[in-house]
Amino acid sequence: MSSAIEVTSAVKRFGEILALDNLSFRIELGEIFGLIGPNGAGKTTALRIASTLLLPTSGTVKVFGLDVVNDSAQVRKVITYLPEEAGVYRNLSGWEYLKFMAKFNTENKHEIDRMVEEAAEISGLGERLKDKAKTYSKGMKRRLLVARALMSKPRLAILDEPTSGLDVLHSYHVREIIKRHVKEERVTVLLSSHNMLEVEHLCDRVALLDKGKIVAKGKPQELKERFESENLEEVFAKVVGLV
């Protein structure tokens, strides 16, 4: 077993809508892999399948060699998933939320405390963790959620638009958290984003997705050279024939 994720000919249909069209890619251990593309490209569907929330219509998706359909319970033990529009429980404080989530990973009290302390540090929310989540700004909630996703030291973190809706400062903070954590803990990351600059900054490799298909794949620098572009945005435009 040498790869963290192996997607082979994955197809997902929602009635008449073809969300994923014969998708195949592989992510190596310790890699940050980005799926980028416009709205409706199939990024979230791919991430939800890898998180065991959705089932592929056909094809296989394996996480550390475990099949997401047949071994879903085992898969959920080694991953964390951060949905794009994830929320927090309004009437729980930040501390209570982190503790509630930590208890799903372990029953060991010391381990729970360690996770919560680590998440508190990752989030950088300090004393505000004592306040109820309904008093948090969007940026604070997202930092709390990213911290929740990383505190259990998952082998694979699946992050859907981790900086979605955040301002420059909060986006920068969240990106730094992910980058530092991956380096320190050797976590493999599969993320999606609209933000091509963010992907360029964070990812070791990317796959450009359009209408459920991968239209280009490689290291950001390689793609820019191959398509003679200054950035990934330009690469994408050229690949889908916009320019």
Binding site: F14, N39, G40
Partner: protein
């Protein structure tokens, strides 16, 4: 100031009327529900009136004087009567089922003599009594209508002679025994509590519990916490059970509070009943086993309502939609409760009775009446049926939580069928 008002108004009307949830909940449901309720009420009143009109009353004449014959002739003008002479009221009890009646009047010995004395020497101390006996079963609000009819006829009779010349002494026949001096109207408080207060309380309890459960699931969707929860390393059945258990605990506290409250409520009506009358042994208040069966019946009905609410709300996108969806279950709670408020379940047409028995939320109301009258078997079978219904619903709910349907299935009102709907943004 009113520039654009019509434009805004038209937009609002279009938006509101095109929202299928509002259209169904605010317009279609009341259009169906109120005529249905009207029909139920009309049926209840009509059948009660027919009962009175067709009622046969036995008159036990132990006097056989002129005035007693005169009184019998007077009754005969308005009621269908059967006259029996020279026997005891206890003996008449055996004839009640023979003549298909639940009430009889006794004209005791000395009736004509007292009438004569009262007329000849106007002495208000001398009064002619009749005794009225009525079977009390506590099965519906209209049970005492026969007693009222006798009161009215006696009053009319007195107008021909003197005020209060004839007085009525009423006794209740409870479980085929005459309870002397226990006026059936004194027991009407009990009957009202059984016929009205109980169904209303059960309705409220079921409705509130369903709202709690539906909100709990819909909140996870609205606040976007469900996806995170489903991706955690835990059995999804545990999520369902956790949600149900939370609602069940709240509902169980509600059921307990209801039982305590009901007991006190019952107590407030029974203060007017002589202390020597043991209500439990007479079958006018539930025994300990009765209370236990009633509690279990209420609990399983609550459980089925909660499981149903969880399933319905799983199809909703937010709390508002969930509340609208469970609104469609409310008629299943209200209609049987209202029907049973006015009628005895055994007196309604067969098909309607089957429908009432098929609705799980009818059973606590049926059980409440049954256990009060000592009919534990009806309550027991109701519990068995509702438990089986609940297990089926919980199995469906667990299947729903175990698959991606919990995220992808949404109820589309447009075609009134369930289908998967995925917006482009979700892909």
């Amino acid at each position: 100031m009113f520039k654009g008002f019509v434009n805004i108004l038209m937009k609002e009307l279009k938006e509101l009327l095109r929202d299928p949830k509002i259209f169904l909940g605010m317009i279609i449901i009341p259009v169906i529900m109120f005529p249905l309720l009207g029909a139920v009420m009309n049926f209840s009143v009509q059948s009660a009136l027919e009962k009175v009109e067709n009622a046969t009353i036995i008159v036990l004449n132990n006097d056989e004087g002129n005035y007693s014959k005169f009184f019998i002739n007077f009754l005969n003008l308005s009621l269908r009567i059967i006259v029996i002479t020279n026997t005891t009221p206890e003996e008449v009890l055996n004839s009640l089922s023979k003549y298909n009646t639940t009430q009889f009047v006794e004209i005791p010995y000395g009736f004509s003599k007292n009438m004569t004395q009262h007329i000849q020497t106007p002495n208000q101390d001398i009064t002619a009594f009749i005794n009225f006996y009525a079977v009390f079963s506590g099965s519906s609000m209209f049970e005492q209508i026969g007693s009222s009819a006798i009161d009215g006829l006696v009053e009319q009779f007195n107008r021909n002679f003197a005020p209060n010349i004839v007085c009525t002494e009423k006794s209740a026949i409870i479980k085929e025994k005459i309870q002397k001096g226990v006026d059936p109207s004194m027991l009407s408080g009990l009957m009202i509590s059984q016929s009205i207060a109980m169904p209303i309380t059960i309705m409220i309890l079921l409705q509130v519990s369903m709202q709690i459960a539906a909100t709990s699931v819909a909140m996870e969707k609205e606040e976007k916490t469900l996806e995170t929860l489903l991706s955690l390393p835990m059995d999804r059945f545990a999520i369902l059970m956790g949600k149900l258990s939370g609602s069940i605990l709240v509902a169980a506290v509600g059921a307990l509070a209801y039982m305590i409250g009901f007991n006190y409520y019952l107590g407030s009506f029974t203060t007017t009943i002589p202390s020597e009358v043991d209500l439990v042994s007479l079958g006018l208040a539930p025994s300990l086993i009765g209370y236990l069966l009633l509690g279990i019946s209420l609990f399983v009905a609550l459980l089925s309502a909660l499981a149903l609410a969880v399933i319905m709300s799983a199809f909703a996108e937010d709390v508002r939609s969930a509340q609208s969806m469970i609104g469609f279950i409310y008629p299943l709670i209200f209609i049987p409760s209202l029907l049973l408020m006015f009628l005895d379940v055994n007196s309604i047409p067969f098909i309607l009775r089957i429908i009432i028995y098929a609705i799980p939320f009818s059973h606590p109301v049926i059980a409440a009446k049954a256990v009060t009258m000592g009919d534990y078997l009806t309550a027991f079978w109701g519990i068995i049926y509702v438990t089986a219904f609940t297990l089926v619903i919980m199995y469906i709910a667990s299947r729903l939580f175990a698959t991606e349907k919990i995220l992808t299935t949404k109820l589309k009102f447009k075609w009134l069928k369930i289908r998967r709907r995925t917006s482009v943004e979700e892909l």
